[in-house]
C-alpha cells in the first residue's frame, strides 16, 4: 500500500507573521514553481529568485517576469493591498501576492473556483456577475435627509468591516462549499461580504432587504472559517458578516432559517440538543426513510428514543428558557 507519511517542518512550530518575515536573508534563493497554462495540466515551471528585503510573492513574480519569463501572465495593479487583483495560491493557500511574504520554497497556482484565462490570471466575470445579481446598492425607504445624516458607528459596525473588502476573491477560492460547484446555490464568502455592505446598513429600505434576501442560500455556509483565514483584510467574515446576515434572513424569511430556529427552540425547551428531535423536526419524517441507517443508529446507541421523548435536564432547561428570546410566531 502507498503510504504518504506526514513530514514535520521546523517552520510549523512558529507560525507567526514575524517568523514568516525572518525566514530568509538577503542573497538567499527562493525556489518557485509556477503553474503555466501552456504545455498541459501539470506544467509547473521552476525558477530561482534571489531574496530581497521583505520580499513579497509579487516581487518574486515581477523578478521572474523581468529576468526569466517575460511571458508569464499574472494580474496586479496597485501592489499595496487596495485593488485586490493579485490573489494567487501559494503552496495551496490563497494569498494576496503583493501582501504575502515569500517562503523559501513556493508553488504558485491560480485561484480556484474561477476559469483560468492564462497562467495565473483568472476570469473575474463569474464573481462580478454574482455580486451584481444581488443589486448591491441602497434603496432607501425614507428620502435622504442631507449631509451629515443621522448614523452612528455602532449601527455600522458590521458594515464597516464589510467595507474593507477589496474583492480579491481569495475567500471565494478557499471556500469548500463554492468548491462543490452546482451542488448548492451558496453565494460564497466575498459575495456575501459585498451583499452585507448594503444589507446590514440601517439606511437600506426594508423592502429592498427583504426582496434581496429572498433568494439567498446563506445557510449552506459550513462555518469553516477558511474565508477568514485567507482574508488579507482580516474581515471576520463568519462572525461579523455571515452570522448577522443569517440573523437578518431569519427575521425577514424565517422559513429559510428553519434549521436554526428549530435548533433554538429545542435548546429553549431542553437546555441541550437532542439530535434526533433536531433532524426529525428539520427534515421531517423523510429522515426515517433511510431504514437501514435508523436501525444501525439504534443498535449502536447513537439515537435514544426514550431520551428524545422523555429526557429533559431541568436546571439547564430553565436557564435556557430564561435566556433565549421568544420567537414572535
Amino acid at each position: 500500500m502507498n503510504i504518504v507519511p506526514f513530514q514535520f517542518k521546523p517552520s510549523q512550530s512558529q507560525d507567526s507573521l514575524l517568523a514568516r518575515n525572518t525566514l530568509l536573508k538577503l542573497g538567499d534563493i527562493v525556489k518557485i514553481q509556477v503553474k503555466r497554462s501552456e504545455g498541459g495540466a501539470n506544467n509547473y515551471q521552476s525558477f530561482e529568485v534571489p531574496y530581497s528585503q521583505h520580499m513579497r510573492v509579487l516581487d518574486a513574480l515581477n523578478y521572474i517576469a523581468d529576468h526569466q519569463a517575460p511571458d508569464l501572465a499574472y494580474r496586479w495593479f496597485c501592489g499595496s493591498k487596495m485593488c485586490g487583483s493579485c490573489a494567487v495560491r501559494m503552496n495551496g493557500r490563497e494569498v494576496l501576492a503583493c501582501w504575502e511574504a515569500v517562503l523559501p520554497e513556493m508553488t504558485i497556482d491560480p485561484l480556484r473556483n474561477l476559469p483560468v484565462i492564462r497562467d495565473l490570471v483568472v476570469d473575474r466575470t463569474p464573481y462580478e456577475k454574482r455580486v451584481a445579481s444581488y443589486k448591491p446598492w441602497l434603496e432607501r425607504d425614507e428620502p435622504y435627509s442631507g449631509f451629515p445624516e443621522p448614523l452612528t458607528h455602532r449601527d455600522m459596525k458590521s458594515v464597516s468591516k464589510a467595507l474593507d473588502c477589496i474583492s480579491c476573491m481569495a475567500c471565494y477560492s478557499a471556500c469548500p462549499v463554492i468548491g462543490l460547484g452546482d451542488l448548492t446555490n451558496f453565494e460564497g464568502p466575498a459575495p456575501l461580504v459585498q451583499l452585507a455592505q448594503t444589507m446590514l446598513d440601517p439606511r437600506n429600505g426594508a423592502k429592498k432587504v427583504a426582496s434581496t434576501l429572498e433568494s439567498i442560500d446563506i445557510f449552506s455556509c459550513v462555518s469553516c472559517y477558511k474565508c477568514e483565514e485567507v482574508c488579507p483584510s482580516h474581515i471576520p467574515i463568519v462572525s461579523m458578516i455571515i452570522e448577522p446576515l443569517k440573523r437578518k434572513v431569519a427575521e425577514v424569511h424565517p422559513e429559510k432559517a428553519r434549521h436554526a430556529l428549530v435548533f433554538k427552540s429545542i435548546i429553549a425547551r431542553r437546555g441541550w440538543i437532542d439530535p434526533t428531535e433536531l433532524v426529525l423536526r428539520t427534515q421531517g419524517f423523510k429522515a426515517l426513510l433511510n431504514v437501514r441507517r435508523v436501525i444501525t443508529l439504534l443498535l449502536r446507541g447513537k439515537v435514544n428514543p426514550v431520551k428524545t421523548l422523555f429526557g429533559r435536564a431541568k436546571v439547564s432547561a430553565a436557564a435556557a428558557a430564561r435566556f433565549i428570546t421568544k420567537d414572535k410566531s
Binding site: D71, F77, G79, S80, M82, W99, S160, L163
Partner: protein, 572 residues
C-alpha cells in the same frame, strides 16, 4: 473588426471617468466606458487616503475654509492654478459632493455617538470608513453605480489611439482588450480622456501598474497642447522594502481624532520632520517634507531611495488604530505599529501638469477631445477635484452635443492602427530585448536623471538616453510569445511607445522652466522666480516640432508675496 457607435466614449475608470459617465447617463446620453485596468479598482483614485472638507462643511470656520483654499493653491499647486476655478470647485464640494456621495451610501466615518470623525487643525478631513483607505469603498461604490446603470463598459481594455475624422477632430478611439486579444473601434461624438494623475514613468511610482502616460502620449500625437508637464509631485514617505510596496505610504497627514501624525528620522537617528511641528498648514505636507529630505540627502543622512525612516513610534497605538489603516504595513511585517519605524523612500507621485484645457468646458485644444481629472493640467491631486471635473465635462459635452460632428472617423485611421498593434506582436528572432526590459530602462533613466534633483545637464543626458532607446532598442523589441490571450508583453510593448513619447515631453518641459518651484527642483536654477515663472508652461505641437508659450496666472485671492527667493526657503 467591430465598430461600436455611441454618443460619448470615456477613457478611464477612476473618479473622473466614472463621475463623467454617470452624469452623462443621467442626461440621457449613451456612453461607452473603456478602462485599461478595472473600473474603480485601478488608477490613482483608490489611493485617496482621506477626503478634505471644503468651505463651511461640518462646522468649518471661515478661517478653516480659507486655509483649505490656501492649501490647495499653495501646497498642492504652487500657485500654478486658476484661483477662480478653485473657488468654483470648493463651492461644489461644499454644496453637492458630500451630500451626493452620502445619499448613494458612502459611509463617512462616525463615532459611536454619531458624529462624523474629523481631524483637528486648520484644515479638516474625513474618511470613507477608514482613513488611509477611503478611496477603496469610494471607488467600489462608483463601480457599483456604473454596473447599476448597465453602461456598456470594457475593462482590461487599452485605448491605443485617438482616431480622427477627416476634418481633424477626434471621432473615437481604437481599443484592444488584452485579455481576449479583441481589437475594436468606438465612434463617438465626444471623446473624454480621463486617464489620471500618475504614471509609472519612474523606477518608483505611486501609479498603478497599467499607468504609462497613455493619455498624454495619445493626446499629443493627436495634436493636443500640454501645460506644466514638468510639475511632478513626490511622496517622501513610501515604504522602501519590499519593492512592491512603493505605494504603501506612511501618511504624514493629520490623523482622524488625534493631534499627532507621522515623523521622519534620518540615518543618524535624528528626527528631521514631524508633521505637526514642521508644517504650519498642518495638512498633507509633501513638498515641505521633500525639502527637509533634500537637506538630509545633502548632509548624507539619507538617500532618495532609502536610508531614512518614518513611523508613529511617538504615538499611542490606539490612536493610530482607531480610525486609520496606517499600521497595516508594520503589522504585516510582524512588527507592532507603535514601536517601529520603517525605512522609507521617495516615490514619483502625481503630475500636476497635463493637457491644456479650458477649465470652464474641459475642452482640450483638439476638437472633439475633452478632458477630466488628473490628466488635465489645470490642477493637482484630490479625488474631489477629479470628481468635479467629471461634472463639468458632462455639462459641457451635453451643452455642445447637438453641435458635435457625427461624421465617422477616417476609414484608414483604424486600419493603420490595427497594423501598428499587430506589428508589435512579432515574436520571431531573439535578438532584441523584451518590452518589459525597455520599460525598466526608461524608468531607471527617469529616476537617475529626472528625479527630485534636476539640472540642464541631467535632463539632456536623459534625452540622449531615451533617444538611444528609441533608435536602438525599440526597433529590435521582441516578444516571447505571440498569443493574444492575457499577453502582458503585448501591452508592455504599447506602453513603451507611450512612455517614450511622454517622458521626452516631460523632460523638454522641465528644461523650459528655468526656476525651482515646490517639488520641482533644478540645481541650476535654485530660486523660485515668481516674476517670470508664476506662469503656465505651455507646449503646442507644430508642424516643425514644439512651440512653447508662457502665460502668467492671475492671483485674485492668494499671492506668494515675493518675487524671487531660494526655493528651499519658501514655506510651500
Amino acid at each position: 473588426m467591430r465598430t461600436i457607435t455611441t454618443d460619448v466614449v470615456v477613457i478611464g475608470g477612476g473618479a473622473a471617468g466614472c463621475y463623467a459617465t454617470l452624469c452623462l447617463r443621467k442626461k440621457g446620453l449613451r456612453v461607452v466606458m473603456i478602462c485599461k485596468g478595472l473600473i474603480g479598482k485601478s488608477g490613482a483614485s483608490i489611493f485617496a487616503g482621506n477626503l478634505v472638507l471644503s468651505g463651511r462643511l461640518l462646522g468649518n470656520t471661515e478661517e478653516q475654509a480659507r486655509s483649505t483654499a490656501e492649501f490647495l493653491i499653495k501646497y498642492h499647486n504652487q500657485f500654478l492654478i486658476d484661483q477662480k476655478w478653485a473657488k468654483r470647485c470648493a463651492d461644489w464640494i461644499q454644496d453637492c459632493y458630500y451630500p451626493e456621495l452620502e445619499e448613494i451610501g458612502l459611509y463617512l466615518r462616525r463615532n459611536d455617538e454619531g458624529e462624523v470623525v474629523t481631524n483637528p487643525g486648520k484644515i479638516r478631513g474625513v474618511a470613507a470608513n477608514v482613513q488611509g483607505n477611503s478611496g477603496v469603498p469610494f471607488m467600489d461604490l462608483r463601480r457599483k453605480q456604473i454596473i447599476r446603470t448597465g453602461i456598456e463598459r470594457y475593462e482590461e481594455t487599452v485605448v491605443t489611439a485617438l482616431l480622427k475624422r477627416d476634418d481633424g477632430s477626434i471621432g473615437g478611439v481604437f481599443a484592444l482588450n488584452y485579455m481576449t486579444g479583441e481589437r475594436f473601434v468606438v465612434q463617438a461624438r465626444a471623446t473624454i480622456l480621463a486617464t489620471g494623475y500618475s504614471d509609472r514613468l519612474h523606477k518608483r511610482s505611486t501609479g498603478t501598474r497599467e499607468l504609462s502616460a497613455d493619455g498624454i502620449a495619445m493626446a499629443w500625437r493627436a495634436g493636443a497642447s500640454m501645460v506644466n508637464l514638468e510639475m511632478q509631485w513626490w511622496h517622501t514617505n513610501d515604504v522602501a522594502h519590499p519593492i512592491t510596496w512603493q505605494r504603501v505610504q506612511i501618511y504624514p497627514n493629520p490623523i482622524l481624532g488625534s493631534v499627532h501624525s507621522a515623523r521622519m528620522v534620518n540615518n543618524a537617528g535624528e528626527e528631521f520632520f514631524d508633521q505637526q511641528k514642521d508644517d504650519p498648514m498642518a495638512f498633507g505636507p509633501y513638498t515641505l517634507q521633500l525639502k527637509a529630505l533634500y537637506r538630509q540627502v545633502q548632509a548624507k543622512k539619507a538617500r532618495y531611495d532609502g536610508d531614512y525612516f518614518s513611523g508613529f513610534d511617538h504615538i499611542d497605538k490606539k490612536e493610530i488604530d482607531a480610525y486609520t489603516t496606517y499600521s497595516k504595513a508594520y503589522k504585516q511585517l510582524g512588527m507592532s505599529g507603535s514601536d517601529h519605524l520603517l525605512e522609507t523612500a521617495v516615490t514619483a507621485h502625481y503630475r500636476q501638469g497635463g493637457l491644456l484645457v479650458d477649465n470652464t468646458t474641459m475642452k482640450s485644444t483638439v476638437a472633439g477631445l475633452y478632458v477630466a481629472g488628473g490628466v488635465g493640467g489645470h490642477s493637482n491631486g484630490l479625488i474631489a477635484l477629479a470628481t468635479y471635473d467629471g461634472k463639468v465635462v458632462a455639462d459641457s459635452v451635453a451643452a455642445d452635443f447637438d453641435l458635435l460632428s457625427v461624421e465617422p472617423v477616417s476609414p484608414s485611421a483604424a486600419d493603420i492602427e490595427e497594423k501598428r498593434i499587430m506589428s508589435l506582436l512579432r515574436s520571431e528572432g531573439s535578438k532584441g530585448c523584451g518590452p518589459g526590459e525597455i520599460k525598466r530602462q526608461i524608468q531607471e533613466c527617469m529616476w537617475d536623471h529626472v528625479g527630485v534633483e534636476k539640472s540642464a545637464t541631467s535632463l539632456n543626458l536623459a534625452l540622449e538616453h531615451l533617444a538611444h532607446i528609441r533608435q536602438q532598442a525599440l526597433p529590435a523589441m521582441r516578444l516571447r510569445q505571440s498569443g493574444t490571450l492575457a499577453n502582458y508583453e503585448w501591452l508592455d510593448a504599447l506602453d513603451v511607445i507611450n512612455m517614450l513619447d511622454a517622458t521626452e515631453l516631460i523632460i523638454l518641459a522641465s528644461l523650459q522652466r528655468q526656476e525651482s518651484r515646490g517639488p520641482f527642483m533644478r540645481l541650476d536654477y535654485p530660486d523660485t522666480d515668481n516674476k517670470n515663472w508664476l506662469a503656465a508652461n505651455i507646449m503646442h505641437r507644430t508642424q516643425s516640432g514644439i512651440r512653447f508659450e508662457r502665460i502668467p496666472y492671475e492671483l485674485p485671492t492668494f499671492q506668494p508675496g515675493f518675487e524671487r527667493k531660494p526655493n528651499l526657503e519658501v514655506g510651500w
